[in-house]
Symmetry: C2
Subunit: 552 residues, 2 copies
C-alpha cells in the first residue's frame, strides 16, 4: 500500500498519555452516583449497573498480574477523527495487561456483532492505522443494538471467541445501547463486560465527566481552516457574502466553535433561535441588518455561519413541517390531489390553501425552490426530508428579497452577491490533530484499564483536557449517571441526555459579547491548517470552547 | 489586530532564496529570443520589447551601488496564495538596492493605477502580511489595462510619485497587458519600466521558462487535503459516490494534480475530452462503467474529480450553447416566444423544437434542472452562463439514469448514492505552503533585480524548482517570447499562449497509466493538511506535476 508523505511521518507519532496511565494503575472509587434525572425509573431499568461509583485512575508502584483477556470493539455511527487511535489505545492497553490478550474488531458497525462478522486486529494490521483518520480499519454502521434477540446473537460469537469485554465507540444513542447491553449481560451473568467510548462529531455527548467528544477538535479545525481561507478571499475580493452551512443537526457546537475560531460577521446558533422562538423572518432581518450596516461602510462582503439543523429549531418551521407531514401523508386524499398538478406553481397554491393560516403565510414567504423541496422530496414514509433542505440557499434568497425591500425604503445601498458552501464530509475523516490523537488514545487506553479491573456499564472518561496530557484525569463514569427518560417514537426511554449549546455557558457568552463588533468590523481570524509539528501553541491548542469552559 | 496562533508563528518564517539572489547579483544575458509563434506580427507590435535576451542571475562579489528607486505594484485578477510574499520579495529587494527605495501599492487592482488610488507599503505595514494568504494587503481587481487613455492616466500618478518601475502580478492576460504597457512607455520614453510576475491559480500560465504559477502548489494541496478526507470517509462509510468539482475553467491542471496527489477512482480531464471529441454520453458511459465494476466487487462508493470547465470542452455541448446563445438572443422572436411559457416543460419542448437535430437530441437528454439552467439563467448579454452550470450534478443525474439502464440489462447490481462538492474559494487564499512562500518571495526579489538593472517587458522567472531553493535558477524572460496571435472578440491580438494539460506530458501519462487500477481498486492517498514545520519530505514537497515533469 502506498501512503502519503504525511502518513509516513505521522505513523511515527507516539500519542501522549496521562501520567496515571503510564505505569501500573490504581483505581480510586468515588461516591455512588445518581442519574441526572428520573432516578427511580432509571434505577429500576438498570438494577445491575445503576448507582456505581465514579472511578479515577492513579499511578501506583504495585505491579499487578492479569490473565490474558480477549476484547471486542465496535465502531458505531458516523465517522469522527481519532477512532483508529481509540482502537490503538485499547490494543496497547490490553497487551500491557497481558501480552497474550487479543483484540477482535466487529465489521461494519454493531451489525457485525449480530451477524458474526469480525477480524482479529493484530499488531501488524494496526500499524497502518495509527494516527490516521477514518473508520476504515473495521468499518462502521448504523444498526441499533436494541433487541434481546440481537444481544443473544452477539453473545454467541462473544462466547465462541472467548471475548470477556466489548468496547462500543459511539454517540449518545450507541452508548445508551451499550449500557442496556451491559445491564442485560450482567443480569444474565453472561461474563461479558461492556464499556463505552464517547464519540459524536456534533459535540452533543458532553457533560461534567465527558468534557468533549473525540474528533470534535479535529473536525472543527478543518472547517475553521476553510472558513478562514474563505474569509481571506472575501476580504481580498470584497464582492461576495459567503453563506457557509456547517455540520450539526441536533446541536450547534460545531458552528459555535468555528465562529469562535474564525470570528465571522454572522454566526447563527440553533439553540438561541429556539430559546428566543425566532421566526425565519426575524433571522432574515438580523442578517439583512448586518449586511446593510456593512454596505453603509462600503463593505459588500462577509461571511455567515449557519448550523445544518437550523430550520428544525425555528418553531414556526417545525410547525409547518409537521403540518406538511400530516396533510400530505402517503395515500391521503390531499396527497393525491397535490400530485395531480403538473404545474409547480399550482401545486404550491394548493398546498398553501390547505395549510393553517400561520403555516400558509410562512409557506408563501419561502422561495419556490425551498417550498418545492418541502413538498416534493419526501422520504420513503412520506415525510419532509429536513436534511435535504438547503438552509443556506433558503436564507440567501430570503435575505436578498429583504435587502431589495430595504433598498426601496432607502435603508440599504449596496450590492449583494452570494456564494454557498456546506462543510461536513470534509472534516469527519481528517487525520486527528495532536489533541485528538492523544485524547482518543487515552480514551482507548482507559477502556483497557476498566476492562482489566472487571468494570461494566462504564464509559471512558478523560478530563482536565486543557492541561498538558500528562495531567489529564483518566477514569470511568457509569453510563446510567448521564441518563434521563425521554420520549422516543412515542415511548419513554432511558437515554443519555443530549448536550445542546448552553446560552449561559462561557463559549456562547463570549460570542454574544463580541458578535456586534465582529458583524460590522472585519475581525476575521485565519486559523490555517492543522499542524502536527512546530510550536506547541500551534500544534497542541485545544478548542476555544474548552479553553473558555475551563478558565472560569 | 488579533491574529491566530499559526499566523503568529508563521510570521517568523524567513522565505528561502536561490543562492544567486542572496548577495550581489550579476546578470548574464542569453541569446536573443523569438516569440513562440507569429514572430513577424509580434515583432511589429513590440518594436521596443521584442527579441530581448533571456536573463540569468549569478552570485557575484562585486558590490554595486544603486540610486533609490520608487516602485509601484499591482495585484491583478483572482486571488492566489503567496501574493503577499511576492510583494515582500519586491520590498526587501528594492530596500537592499538602496534603503531609501519606496514601494507603492495601487489599490483594488489595475483600476487603482488609472484612478490614482494607492498607498505606500511601509516595513511596518508589510510585517502583518508576510507569509499570509489573500490579496488583502492592497486588494485586487479585474479592470483590464488595455487602452492608451488608461496608460496615460497611469503615467500621471507614476510621475507624481516618481515611480520608475511598475510590477504587475497577474495571469496570462494581465502579463500580456503588462507587456503592452511596457512597450507603450518605452516607445514614449516615459522612463517607467514594467515587469510581470506569473500568477494564475489554474496553472495555465506555464512554459519552459515559467515552470509553475504561484499559488498553484498551495491551492491544490488544500483541495487534495479535502479530497483525501472525503475519500477516507467514502472508504469508511462505504455508501456514497462523491462527485467533486474543482476550480479550473480554461485548463484542468488543478484536477490533474489533485488526482495525482489523491488517486481517486475517476479523474476527468477537459483537454482529453476535447482531444477525443467525447460526447456527454461517452463521459457518462465511462463513469457508469467504473461505478458498475466497483459495485460488482461490492463497493458502492467512490470519488470522481470533475474540472469546472468540463462542459465547454465537450464539442457537442459547445455547439448546443452556441446555438442557444444565437436562437434565444436578447430581443429575438424566439426569445419572446420562449418567455411566454409559464410551464417549464412546455418551454423546454419549444426550445427543443427550434434547435438543430443534434443539439435537440442532446438538449432532450439533459436533466431538466440543467436544461433550465441553460435557458433561464442568462447573463446581461443574454448568453448562457456556463459558470453556473452545475456540472457535477449534471453528471450525477445522467450517470444515475445510465445505471438504471444497466441495471435493467442485468449489467449493474448496486446502490448509487451521491454527494456533491465544489472546491474553489476554499484554496485561493490559503496561507502559502513553504514552496509558495519561497517561490513567491523569490519571484518578487527577482523582479527587484530586473528593476535595479533597468529592464522592462520582462517577467520574473524562477526555475529548477524541484531542487532545493538554494539551487533555483532566477532570471528574467521577455514577455514577448511567450506570445502568439489569437482571436479575441473577433480581432487578432498578441497574447501569452495559454498552457493546457498536455496529453503527451509526463503528468497526464502517469494518470493514464494508472487510472484503470485506481478506478477499480481503492488506492486512495490521504495527503493531509499543508505542514509548515516537520520533516522536509512533508513540508517542502513540490507538486507531483513538477516532480514528473522534471524527472524525465
Amino acid at each position: 500500500m502506498t501512503i502519503s508523505a504525511l502518513q509516513q511521518a505521522r505513523a511515527q507519532y507516539q500519542p501522549k498519555l496521562p501520567k496515571s496511565l503510564k505505569g501500573a494503575v490504581k483505581i480510586v472509587e468515588g461516591a455512588a452516583t445518581e442519574s441526572v434525572a428520573d432516578q427511580a425509573e432509571i434505577k429500576e431499568l438498570f438494577p445491575n449497573t445503576y448507582g456505581m461509583p465514579l472511578l479515577t485512575f492513579e499511578a501506583t508502584d504495585a505491579a499487578t498480574s492479569v490473565d490474558p483477556v480477549n476484547v471486542g470493539v465496535i465502531l458505531s455511527g458516523g465517522q469522527a477523527p481519532g477512532g483508529h487511535n481509540v482502537i490503538s489505545g485499547i490494543f496497547d492497553g490490553i497487551k500491557k495487561l497481558n501480552a497474550d490478550s487479543k483484540l477482535y474488531g466487529f465489521l461494519g458497525g454493531p451489525g457485525g456483532l449480530v451477524d458474526h462478522k469480525y477480524m482479529e486486529i493484530t499488531a501488524d494490521y494496526l500499524e497502518g492505522y495509527r494516527n490516521t483518520g477514518g473508520f476504515d480499519i473495521i468499518g462502521s454502521g448504523r444498526t441499533k443494538l436494541e433487541e434481546e434477540a440481537q444481544f443473544d446473537k452477539g453473545l454467541e460469537i462473544l462466547k465462541a471467541l472467548n471475548i470477556k469485554a466489548l468496547v462500543i465507540i459511539g454517540g449518545d444513542d450507541s452508548n445508551t445501547n451499550a449500557c442496556v447491553l451491559a445491564e442485560y449481560y450482567a443480569a444474565k451473568n453472561a461474563g461479558v463486560q461492556v464499556v463505552g467510548c464517547p464519540k459524536t462529531i456534533d459535540g452533543d455527548l458532553k457533560n461534567e465527566m465527558i468534557e468533549t467528544s473525540f474528533g470534535f477538535d479535529t473536525a472543527v479545525k478543518v472547517y475553521s481552516e476553510l472558513i478562514g481561507n474563505i474569509q481571506r478571499d472575501a476580504n481580498s475580493a470584497k464582492k461576495y457574502w459567503h453563506f457557509i452551512k456547517l455540520m450539526g443537526r441536533s446541536a450547534s457546537h460545531i458552528g459555535l466553535e468555528a465562529g469562535l475560531q474564525t470570528q465571522p460577521n454572522i454566526t447563527l446558533i440553533s439553540e438561541e433561535v429556539a430559546e428566543k422562538k425566532q421566526t425565519l423572518g426575524e433571522i432574515v432581518d438580523y442578517m439583512a441588518g448586518i449586511i446593510a450596516k456593512r454596505a453603509a461602510n462600503g463593505e459588500n462582503f462577509g461571511v455567515a455561519l449557519i448550523p445544518e439543523g437550523l430550520v428544525e429549531f425555528v418553531p414556526e418551521m417545525k410547525a409547518l413541517i409537521a403540518e406538511l407531514n400530516d396533510l400530505l401523508a402517503e395515500g391521503s386524499e390531499s396527497e393525491a390531489k397535490f400530485k395531480s398538478y403538473t404545474d409547480k406553481a399550482e401545486g404550491r397554491a394548493f398546498v398553501s390553501s390547505i395549510l393553517s393560516a400561520d403555516s400558509s403565510k410562512l409557506y408563501n414567504s419561502l422561495p419556490s425552490l425551498i417550498a418545492d423541496q418541502l413538498t416534493l422530496d419526501r422520504d420513503p414514509h412520506g415525510n419532509v426530508q429536513v436534511s435535504l433542505i438547503e438552509t443556506e440557499k433558503l436564507l440567501g434568497e430570503m435575505v436578498k428579497t429583504r435587502l431589495a425591500e430595504l433598498k426601496a425604503e432607502g435603508k440599504y445601498v449596496g450590492k449583494f452577491g452570494t456564494q454557498f458552501h456546506f462543510f461536513g464530509y470534509e472534516g469527519r475523516c481528517a487525520a486527528p490533530s495532536n489533541f485528538d490523537a492523544d485524547y482518543c488514545y487515552s480514551l482507548g487506553y482507559t477502556a483497557s484499564v476498566l476492562i482489566g479491573s472487571g468494570k461494566t456499564g462504564y464509559m471512558s472518561s478523560v478530563r482536565n483536557t486543557t492541561a498538558p496530557a500528562d495531567e489529564w484525569i483518566a477514569g470511568g463514569v457509569p453510563v446510567t449517571m448521564m441518563m434521563n427518560m425521554e420520549k422516543r417514537h412515542g415511548h419513554m426511554k432511558p437515554v443519555i441526555q443530549k448536550a445542546l449549546v448552553e446560552l449561559d455557558g462561557a463559549p456562547f457568552k463570549y460570542l454574544a459579547a463580541n458578535r456586534e463588533k465582529w458583524a460590522v468590523e472585519t475581525s476575521y481570524l485565519y486559523p490555517g491548517p492543522i499542524q502536527y509539528w512546530g510550536p506547541s501553541e500551534v500544534c497542541d491548542r485545544t478548542t476555544v470552547t474548552l479553553q473558555l469552559e475551563q478558565t472560569k
